[in-house]
Every structure is written in structure tokens, then in C-alpha cells.
Symmetry: C2
Subunit: 353 residues, 2 copies
């Protein structure tokens, strides 16, 4: 019997299947998940938190950064990302009255996240866990819990749990401000349309097969996408991929960009895209090889690109933007003869303390 | 007449001179600057801010991250780093009552920092500018101002203004909590001792002369040092240098580390150093080439290293840790035949919007 007839997935088969599940997961969150998220949001809103702190690591930290933008822009409340070691290494005990602490984790199992959330609750915070595991230690120690309903994720690189976290966090913030989350309704269908264009991405991946390094840039709502794309590429293909907000890129790192340094720019359709224009000009001026994911007219001006559908509200574009970049990480990795399902040196539940 | 007899600095001469000024700048802050910082801190403490937000870009953003650790650990208040585009691109108007917004900038001239600070003040925040230019637009729009007293900085890579910002922010947080800042008193002398060991660093720099990339890691108070070292190396030598907190490194990027990927670890003497041990074990297990800056016994176990003086309180170690790494950036750049004073593509005042 061959391996495949025993049900063993071919190289990359698990990541590929989980990536393809995303439209279905998004649909599940919008139907089954949304009422529960709205209920949690209403209970939290009634407690009138003044500040929001977000705690996470890895892929979930990029989802947390997206939520930070939502909280600041849509909800109009100050927000920060937790430096976890202040609690776990230094035993800091800040007064967290009036603070909402949101901990985001696929597994809900990392000991430092659990310890940090327990400390936050003791310090007076409203605690909310956003995880893919309702039975996790993190869900247990948090006052509130949102299940992102992505189903078991078996590939080491997180894909469907990332977009599930993004959508759940978007619906949460909408709930907190009394919005209806309508901007998300078309996402499952749009996601399916993007994932059907795998052949376009496979073609682009050939450009990066021998790349020594990549720079990925964006701004605003697109910046978490740049960070997550970089992480995905690093952990699967092992190509060092360095994410920068466009503004930070101009404060120093621009010096290292030249005509052999490929740059991927995530150009949202909206204000972040406009704010990114001077950065794109400077990159073109430095002779950078530029691939654009996003706005169609910017794709046309670049060396390569993947155009995203127009007319999607900017605050939910990140849920679509990452899809071609997940496919890109996969395709580059396959082209290099590696297995994206099981990168060397990694475990699915990372036990950091 | 030769160029040098006309007073034109030789290649790297400006950065080299400014790096060497640091003990003197630190001394100036402790004597002339401290009383003014204490007075500002007392006025702010009387207003009882509950939440601290830090706004900055580039090198100053790394100083802001250091301040975030100080605020959380020493002051026991929640803190966050501002995502500036939420104001400048999206027009977010969060309620900032009870918030202290600290904007850190060498020049005090970047338009986005000025706009963001003006918006914060309008939104009810207590605003404090920490700059090297008392006559700057940023100082003008802020309610409070601290001058970091570093004197004019002419090299493009910031060196003395970074450590001046760190020490000023340390004294500010000490003032806010009613501490005496005594941990800083030995820093000028210790800094002079470290900077006198340039020959050691020049020797180490030979290892990286042909490096294609670097990973720099640390945790806790040492993490801002890792970020600033990476920025310094990128903007002078053009070697892509990727900073990771030790915990984040285990969540994915560890896969790209192998025995041809040099890693620099900043190992503080204290709790962050302890928390970093499992990360160092994993790196050694992956066969990484490891250089250590910090704890002497960890330096001995590494492929190369630079031992820092023992017995310095952990919260002020970052003011010393960066010094050998500034020298390293300079020495690598000189060895590669480039000019650290004037990296390609950069301007001293970065006009991001």
C-alpha cells in the first residue's frame, strides 16, 4: 500500500487543505459564532473598559495587532500590546482596573499566556480569551471566552486560525461599539474567489525560489498582514523575511534595500494605501524589485503582483490580504523542496515561559 | 591642502566621535538634566495618569520600548506603543483623559509625531516631549518637555541621542514613582570603560564582515537593545539584521536558524538573562553561531562575546548594553569599506507623514 492510500497526507497536504478551508471557517463564524461574540461584547461593553491591552505570541500576535488598530480607530479607545515578560520575568503588578485584557492564542495552552492572563485578572482587568480551543487552560482562567471555531489545525504554520482570529476580533470590536459587522458579510465568498487563483501565486513564487531574503512592508491596517506574511514565509521556506511599517522603513532600514532585495508591499485600498505612496516612490527610486498585493492600479505599476477585489471596507481587508501571501509561502516552500506542514525545529504548542 | 586639514572628518569620523561622547553626555544628564527631569516628573505625578502611551519612530522607538518596560515594571502602570497611523491616516480620536502620552524624537521635527502629539493633547492627554531639541516643533506643541542634552548629532546613525533618551526616560520614571535614580550614578564611568575596549569589538567585527544576515535576540529589558542593535547594523553596514524577542523566536522564526546564520544574543545580568536560557539552549541545539553581549559566564560558553560589568541594576543595563553593539555596527561597516556617517538613501530628519 502506498502512503497516500493509508491516509498520510502528501508533502504540504495539510497546510494546503487548511488554507482551503478558510471560506468555510469564515462562514461558520458569521453564522454560528457571531451571536455568541455579540453577547460577550455586550457584557464587556456594559462594564465600560477604558483601555484595551492585547496579549499574544507568534501568528496570534499579528491578529492582536490588527485588533489594536480596530480598537483605536473604530472604538476610539487607547490600546497597547502587552510585553509579557514584565509579568512573567519581572513580576510587575500594574493596576488594571478599567482595562480589558484580550489574550489571543490558537491552542490556549502556552504557560506564559496563562500566567499573564491570571495575573491580569488578579490585577482587576476584565479578561477575555480568544482561542481555537474552548477546553484550554487559557479559556479556563479568563472571565470571558470566544471560540474562533476554526476546527483542529494540524499543520505547524497557522493559516485558518489566523483569519478566524481576525474575523472574531473584528466582530468583537463591532459588538463593543454597537456596530452590526456588516462589512464582513461578503468575506467568505471573496476569500473563495482569491483562493481559487492559486495558479497566479505559483507563477509569482518562481521569482522567490532562490531569494536570500525579503522585505515586506505596509501601513495601517495592512501592517499586521506584512508581519504575518513575513512570519509565514520564514517558518515554512526559511527565507528571512523582514516586515517594516512603511514609515519605519524610511527611518534607517531603507539603506539596505537595493536592486537585488525583493520587496513585497501590501497596499490596502484606502487610507493606508494612500499613506504608503511616498514609501513606494522611495522604493522605486532605490531600484527595488517590488511585488504588490492589493490595489489593482498599484499592482499594474509593480514588477509583479496580486490584485485584490475593490470596494471592500478597509477594516476587513486584512482578512483577505493574507490569503495570497499564505499561498505564496506555501508555493515558495514547495518549489524549494521543503515540507510546509512540518518546519524543522518547531512544535505546534510553543511552551514559552 | 588635504581634506582633513580643512576640518573634514575622515570616513566614519563623526559617528566615532559621537559614540565616544556618551560618557560625557550621561554625566551631563545626571548633573544638569536631572533636576529639571525631576521637576517635570513631579508635576506629571501630581496629575495621576493611569495609562502611559509612547510615540516614536526609528531609534527613538527603541528608547520608547525601553520606557514601556520601565513604566510597567517600576511604575506598575499599563503602557502601550502608539500606532501613529491610527491618528495620521485614519483620524482616530480616542478619549485620552488620564493618559500620559510621551513622544520621543531626536530632532523633534517629524511632521507625523507633531500631528499625533497635537491630536493627543486635544484628546485630553498629558503630553510630554523627550527630544534633543528644545526649540523643535514637537517641544512647542507638548505640554511638558525634557531636553536630553546630547548636543548636536551629525552622523545619520543615532548613538549618543539613544543612550541620552534612555537615561532621561529612566530618570523620568524614577521621578514619577518617587525613586532617587541612584542605579544610574555609575553609568558614565562604566560607559567609558566599555568604550575603551574598541579593539575587542574590532576583532569580533571580522566574523561578520561577509555575513549575509544576522539574527539578534534578547528578552525583557534587553529586547530594546536587540532592536536598536539590529537597526544600527542595518542602516550602517546594510546587513539585514532581524531582531526577535527570545519567546517570539521560538514561535516560528527559529526554523530559519541554522549553522550558517549568525545569532547575537543580548543576555542581561538578571531575570531577563534567566528567562533567555531555554532560548540559548535551543539555539545551541540548532548549531547556531552564537555571540553573546552581557553576562560573563554566558560569553564564555559562546563562540564569541563581549562581557559587561557585573552588579549593575538590570533596569539600567540597556544604557551600557548598546555601546559594544554601536561599536560593532561601526567596525563592520568600516571593514566593508562603507561610510557609517552617511548611509545611502537616508536623511537625518525623516519626514514621515
Amino acid at each position: 500500500m502506498s502512503a497516500s492510500s493509508e491516509g498520510v497526507a502528501p508533502r504540504g497536504g495539510i497546510m494546503s487543505a487548511e488554507t482551503a478551508e478558510q471560506p468555510e471557517v469564515l462562514r461558520r463564524i458569521l453564522t454560528e459564532g457571531a451571536p455568541r461574540i455579540r453577547a460577550v461584547a455586550a457584557e464587556i461593553a456594559a462594564r465600560s473598559p477604558r483601555f484595551v491591552l492585547l496579549t499574544a505570541r507568534g501568528t496570534s500576535d499579528n491578529a492582536a495587532l490588527y485588533a489594536k488598530y480596530l480598537v483605536e480607530v473604530l472604538l476610539g479607545k487607547p490600546a497597547g500590546l502587552t510585553s509579557m515578560s514584565t509579568t512573567t520575568a519581572y513580576g510587575a503588578e500594574p493596576d488594571l482596573t478599567d482595562c480589558l485584557v484580550i489574550t489571543v492564542s490558537q491552542s490556549g495552552g502556552s504557560p506564559d499566556l496563562v500566567a499573564s492572563t491570571e495575573a491580569a485578572r488578579k490585577a482587576g482587568a476584565i479578561t477575555l480569551a480568544v482561542t481555537n480551543n474552548a477546553d484550554s487552560p487559557l479559556a479556563a482562567v479568563s472571565e470571558f471566552h470566544i471560540d474562533v471555531l476554526a476546527g483542529p489545525e494540524k499543520a505547524l504554520p497557522a493559516t485558518k486560525t489566523y483569519t478566524a482570529e481576525l474575523l472574531s476580533l473584528y466582530l468583537l470590536v463591532e459588538g463593543l461599539r454597537g456596530g452590526d459587522g456588516a462589512a464582513a458579510s461578503e468575506l467568505p465568498e471573496l476569500a473563495a474567489g482569491i483562493l481559487a487563483r492559486r495558479a497566479e501565486v505559483a507563477e509569482i513564487a518562481q521569482r522567490y525560489r532562490f531569494a536570500q531574503r525579503l522585505v515586506i512592508t505596509s501601513r495601517g491596517y495592512g501592517y499586521p498582514t506584512a508581519r504575518e506574511a513575513a512570519l509565514k514565509i520564514m517558518e515554512t521556506s526559511y527565507i528571512p523575511a523582514h516586515p517594516f511599517s512603511g514609515a519605519d522603513l524610511l527611518h534607517g532600514p531603507l539603506a539596505m534595500i537595493d536592486n537585488v532585495s525583493p520587496v513585497i508591499a501590501v497596499v490596502p485600498d484606502g487610507r493606508a494605501g494612500e499613506a504608503l505612496q511616498p514609501v513606494l516612490e522611495r522604493l522605486r527610486g532605490r531600484g527595488a524589485d517590488l511585488m504588490v498585493v492589493g490595489q489593482a492600479d498599484q499592482v499594474e505599476r509593480a514588477s509583479a503582483g496580486f490584485a485584490l477585489p475593490a470596494g471592500v471596507p478597509e477594516e476587513v481587508q486584512p482578512i483577505l490580504e493574507i490569503l495570497p501571501l499564505q499561498l505564496l509561502a506555501y508555493e515558495i516552500t514547495m518549489a524549494r523542496g521543503l515540507d510546509p506542514d512540518a518546519p524543522r525545529a518547531l512544535a505546534k504548542v510553543t511552551e514559552t515561559h
